[in-house]
Symmetry: C2
Subunit: 235 residues, 2 copies
Amino acid sequence: METSSLLRQIPLFAAFGDDALTRLAARSVARTYAAGHVLFTTGEICRGLYIVESGRVRIFRTSPAGREQVLHTEGPGKAVAELPLIDGGPYPASAMTDVESRLVFVPRAEFEALYRDNPDVAVAIVHELGRRLRHLVHVTETLAFRDVAARLALFLADYAERSGQQTDQGVEITLNRTHEELSFELGTARESVSRALKQLTQKGVIEPLARKRIRIPDVGRLRTLSRPGERANYE
Amino acid sequence: METSSLLRQIPLFAAFGDDALTRLAARSVARTYAAGHVLFTTGEICRGLYIVESGRVRIFRTSPAGREQVLHTEGPGKAVAELPLIDGGPYPASAMTDVESRLVFVPRAEFEALYRDNPDVAVAIVHELGRRLRHLVHVTETLAFRDVAARLALFLADYAERSGQQTDQGVEITLNRTHEELSFELGTARESVSRALKQLTQKGVIEPLARKRIRIPDVGRLRTLSRPGERANYE
DNA sequence: GGCGCAATGAGACAACCGTCACGTCGCGGC
DNA sequence: GCCGCGACGTGACGGTTGTCTCATTGCGCC
């Protein structure tokens, strides 16, 4: 795809004039990265902004012990690392491609020039940061209050509503993640994901179909299980 | 204090002209609230913005079971609830005064008019949201990776550096919080805070002086204990 | 100075979960 | 088709923590 028309579709740059956009396109670099490529790590000085054209990027923190906690994942049309770009600080987390992804890199100096000339960008950024903030509040609450099974149920329910296919047997989803990647999203260990999946299967709220493919007969019931207070201890 | 000169000191409104500021001051309401006053709760439609003149306000989420997780606390000069104001959504969390506090309430319509007329506000908001976002990343990581004792050690170390008094015996801090309030900050139960405090005392990294008063001989050592990986299991 | 209530300390107990260990499964490459 | 390796399932085990319960302390208020 032409870089300038790609940029046009991104909320961040929607308000730009054609010349600003073509200039930006000329100075940014589009590249395809393999799955598992590290874009940047926590604490690094910010070099620029990445925009996801295709694929998926996850933003996460790691513990010294090697555990990982995903903060958010961004797909096509979304940008990554706006925050350090606008407050001048280091990257607050690390970023890695989950799958093979095509990304557009906008160098820091280029973005800053844009930011100075187009105050409208600030409005777009405010909205984007707001979205992140709400999401992170959600992640925080989930970590603080819910056990692993409930977090998994919540994740699956959200996933089903976002990208599940409705059938007459219920909603079917294709998890393009390994259990280990799931454990990173949920802030837990791989084995706990296995156990939680078994728990949900035994309760009948999910049905494994094939490798990474799951049917959810009743998303509402799954969501009920995701609420704390209704612990999974009886039966 | 005169409301308009108070508003002047707030980063959010620093760029405003005198007339805009006096108009804003005329339409906002300053009031003193007792400790424990609920300003708003999660999910409510946003009525406006609160600015802390004196005292302390905590922003938190609650679980159905009654547990609480503090997301951030704001003191004098800081505002609360900018996010729902700018993205039009509901309050993402609840807010309560920790101690007796004097707050200035800016009605939503008033703020929106200001926001339209002064695009500079967006820049200030971006910075404020950025600060929140970084803080919340910190909270999330802490919840995901650290046990209660480590979270407490981290909290105390931060607190000591922010508002401790240096003595020749070490840094002394006055925790103007009950153990229960501490447990809300740390996302745990009151009893666990008691246990963690005892643990840290036995290790010698903190010394209880009086009710709510603690001496920290070596903040660096306390901070070391706050890192995960060095679990508190031996000795 | 005593009363009352909130704050704190402490013990018991079970659930939850991270970790280690090991076995199995499945898929791609040769 | 076999081999190898990554992904997954499972059991055991111990540490951590939430919850319940009750004793104790301390402080404010009459």
